[in-house]
């Protein structure tokens, strides 16, 4: 009796999710929506409930999405399996593997040394440097890798400042948030910086046969980063006024300690070399043979040279996250195929048309805010996977550029600056124990407002000039 009650209690969200789903299925299908479309929407709603409440590990939700797509009759088992895989999923997989190969080397120590050589011991310069370097590196190998690599740098600096924790509260928050926000800023820099980018590329291609190259993506996204880096550093410095403005002793000690490790090893040169070669291939061949296939060339090189062992990849990669993204892509495409995306797009537009924000820049703002809200509770890749088809349908209906709408969604999905649990970068720095949840709130809301404004500014000027 007690045992059963325990099971029900632990799994209450599963029952709630299933009840919501059942209720929706029981309701009459709205006009303009096919039965299959309704079922796709139900799967989406229940999945979002499960993603937020996490009554079972999220990769399990991915499996359940596959199961329900088949059981609901939206697609057969083979088509469902196929829809889980595309060059974008290969690309997510390959990028994670490359990141795992890099994180294995001691590149973090090199980066820390070069960074501190450039910045010196001023806290302002260090903050700027941390934001900039995190953003730059995360642009290529993803926020989770950068956060994991830079966290020890930040913590070592903090540890060396003073024994007394109360004397460095702000400084600690400043340094760690610089890393987290820097990593988040960079996570839309290139297609390889995050799964949400790959997923958006996938939708463009599958829904409209529009292909965006590696360089073209950078041309659209990098200007925002260039603005964000200095502004974020400035906001952080104003929000968390550091207790001291110079930390020469800590910086010297850290540099000393790194120098002891000796020069760069041949292995480290190889790691960087292969990374650069892979980026070159992405730029040169990505359009023709696919970014995913290209990334596999890089991974094969890492494996051939023995710079990474298969075990490192097997255990260092979150295969579950690949499953999650694959499932949201599959669900997103089904939402599109069943017409549910168009219906939801229309309904949403009808809903917001009285507010006068159903076109142009206001629409983009609405999309951005919707994305940010969702991205604060579930992971950015899943947000893009679920919202993507709806947003692109909205753009199509309103004759807005699908590129602009897509970029706004993909980029906004990393604006989860207030939420600890939503992004790997925030999660990793929070796990250090130096930060409180409130620190993310204190700085985060400013970052979000600034980022939205910057994004809309760029969308209404620069993007128009270069023509999207």
């Amino acid at each position: 009796m007690h045992y059963i009650f325990q099971i029900i209690k632990r799994n209450r969200w599963i029952f709630i999710g299933l009840m919501v789903g059942g209720l929706l299925l029981y309701m009459p299908t709205p006009e303009g929506l096919s039965i299959m479309g309704m079922r796709a929407i139900v799967i989406m709603v229940v999945s979002i409930i499960f993603f937020i409440a996490e009554p079972l590990p999220l990769p399990g939700v991915a499996l359940l999405i596959a199961v329900s797509e088949v059981i609901s009759g939206i697609a057969g088992p083979t088509e469902t399996a196929r829809s889980f895989m595309s060059d974008s999923v290969f690309f997510i997989m390959g990028s994670l593997m490359i990141a795992a190969a890099i994180v294995k080397q001691k590149m973090d120590k090199r980066i820390a040394l070069y960074l501190l050589r450039l910045t010196g011991s001023g806290v302002g310069r260090i903050t700027f440097g941390l934001v900039a370097v995190s953003a730059l590196v995360s642009s290529f190998i993803g926020q989770h890798t950068v956060a994991a690599m830079m966290l020890p740098v930040g913590m070592t600096l903090i540890n060396m400042i003073s024994e007394d924790t109360s004397k460095k509260r702000n400084l600690s928050a400043l340094i760690l948030l610089s890393i987290a926000y820097g990593a988040l800023i960079g996570s839309n820099g290139t297609p390889s910086s995050g799964a949400s980018n790959a997923i958006m590329l996938n939708f463009w291609k599958e829904m409209f046969d529009v292909r965006i190259g590696y360089l073209k993506w950078m041309a659209y996204s990098f200007p925002l980063i260039l603005f964000q880096v200095p502004i974020f550093a400035w906001i952080l410095l104003r929000t968390f006024r550091p207790e001291v403005s110079e930390i020469p002793r800590s910086v010297e000690k850290l540099k000393e300690r790194i120098r002891k490790e000796g020069d760069m090893t041949p292995n480290e040169y190889w790691v960087i070399g292969i990374l650069l070669f892979t980026v070159f291939l992405w730029v040169a061949l990505g359009d023709r043979i696919g970014l995913g296939i290209t990334s596999f060339i890089g991974v094969s090189l890492y494996l051939m040279t023995g710079l990474v062992r298969w075990e490192d990849l097997n255990n260092g990669i979150n295969w579950g996250i690949i499953l999650i993204y694959a499932s949201t892509i599959s669900l997103g495409l089904n939402i599109k195929d069943t017409g549910a995306g168009e219906w939801m797009a229309k309904s949403f537009l009808e809903l917001i048309s009285p507010l006068g924000i159903d076109s142009g820049i206001p629409l983009l703002a609405a999309i951005s805010i919707l994305t940010i809200i969702l991205a604060s509770v579930i992971s950015s890749g899943a947000v893009v996977g679920l919202l993507g088809p709806i947003v692109l349908n909205m753009a199509q209906i309103t004759d807005k550029s699908i590129l602009a709408a897509g970029f706004v969604t993909a980029i906004s999905s990393s604006f989860a600056y207030m939420a600890v649990a939503a992004s790997p970068a925030c999660n990793i720095v929070y796990s250090s124990g130096y930060l409180k949840t409130s620190d993310f709130l204190r700085g985060g809301w400013k970052m979000i407002i600034v980022s939205i404004l910057l994004l809309l500014l760029i969308a209404s000027t620069y993007w128009r000039i270069i023509g999207i």
Binding site: H2, E54, P57, L58, P59, A100, V103, K106, D108, H144, T145, A147, A148, M149, L151, P152, M155, T156, N159, G316, I317, N318, G320, I321, I324, S379, A421, P424, N427, I428, S431, S432, G433
Partner: protein, 300 residues
């Protein structure tokens, strides 16, 4: 006998560590300090493992170990544990599959007691109960933030859950004060006698004044309450302690909370009721934990 002290790394928990350290020292019991690190979403756990490996490469403590190190300092400060001779390994990172760096730091107490600092990862209450299960503890000590007013309704749920579900005695240490003595409550049941037997040696070892308190719900039953108190006094005196006796009239929980204000610790016995009754209970012990301002020891 083994004590399990659960810390959440806060300042309030440090008082509780001192308090349980004193008991352990006085009684010669083994003590374990446990910190439960919250578990991240399954989506992020593998990333966190990568980050922890990096911290390890940089010789930085993984999160949570610093709380245990602070606990170690406190225990050494109050002479519970001695530091091991330099050079001997004192921290041992044991491997638990999937969790990189589950940790135990092992110290030896001044009388040879074992002092263990342990780190676990997961749901706080689940992991504490799991630790109790495998570690065969006799007493759990848990801190409580001692909030006042409205905040009280939203906190203390960990302490409350442990008090409800633990298979052994539980001490909720909040607002720890000086040496004003122990208040032993009795309702005349066997459990109350067991509580008196449990606390007597501790009171003697800590040299604490003992007051026995019994509550009559109405004025007419005051005699019976007095009789219950006398029986408890007899047990206490058999164990070589003298004690005062007091009887209150009114609703038990309220009277106990009021009387406890002037004491270091109020001792209650868990009501020996069944699972079903426990489930619906707004029992006296839980009320005293929830609304009282004094550390509470629930003896099981």
């Amino acid at each position: 006998m083994k004590i399990l002290m659960c810390t959440d790394g806060s300042r309030f928990a440090e008082d509780a560590i001192r308090f349980s350290g004193r008991i352990a020292r006085a009684m010669g019991w083994d003590i374990s300090i446990l910190y439960v690190r919250p578990r991240a979403s399954s989506e992020h756990r593998i990333h966190l493992t990568t980050a922890r490996k990096k911290l390890n490469e940089w010789n930085l403590d993984i999160p949570g170990v610093s709380y245990l190190k602070r606990a170690k300092e406190i225990l050494i400060e109050i002479d519970v544990a001695k530091t091991l001779p330099a050079g001997e390994a004192e921290s041992k990172y044991t491997f638990r599959e999937g969790v990189y760096g589950a940790t135990e730091i092992h110290l030896v107490g001044i009388h040879g007691e074992n002092v263990r600092l342990r780190l676990r990862e997961g749901e706080t209450i689940d992991e504490i109960l799991e630790e109790v299960r495998v570690g065969d503890y006799g007493l759990i000590v848990t801190g409580s933030r001692g909030h006042k007013g409205l905040a009280r309704y939203f906190t203390g749920s960990t302490a409350m859950s442990i008090a409800k579900h633990a298979p052994c005695s539980v001490l909720i240490a909040k607002n720890i004060k000086g040496h004003e003595g122990f208040l032993i409550t009795t309702d005349g049941s066997d459990m109350s006698e067991r509580a008196a037997i449990f606390i007597a040696p501790i009171a003697r070892a800590l040299d604490a004044r003992v007051t026995i308190f019994s509550v009559a719900e109405e004025g007419t039953t005051e005699d019976k309450a007095m009789e219950r108190a006398r029986r408890a006094e007899m047990i206490i005196s058999q164990m070589g302690l003298t004690c005062d006796i007091k009887v209150g009239i009114g609703r038990p929980a309220e009277e106990i909370i009021e009387e406890a204000r002037n004491h270091d610790l109020v001792v209650l016995s868990a009501s020996g009721s069944s699972g079903v009754k426990k489930f619906f209970m707004g029992s006296v012990p839980l009320k005293v934990i929830e609304y009282g301002e004094t550390p509470v020891l629930i003896v099981r």
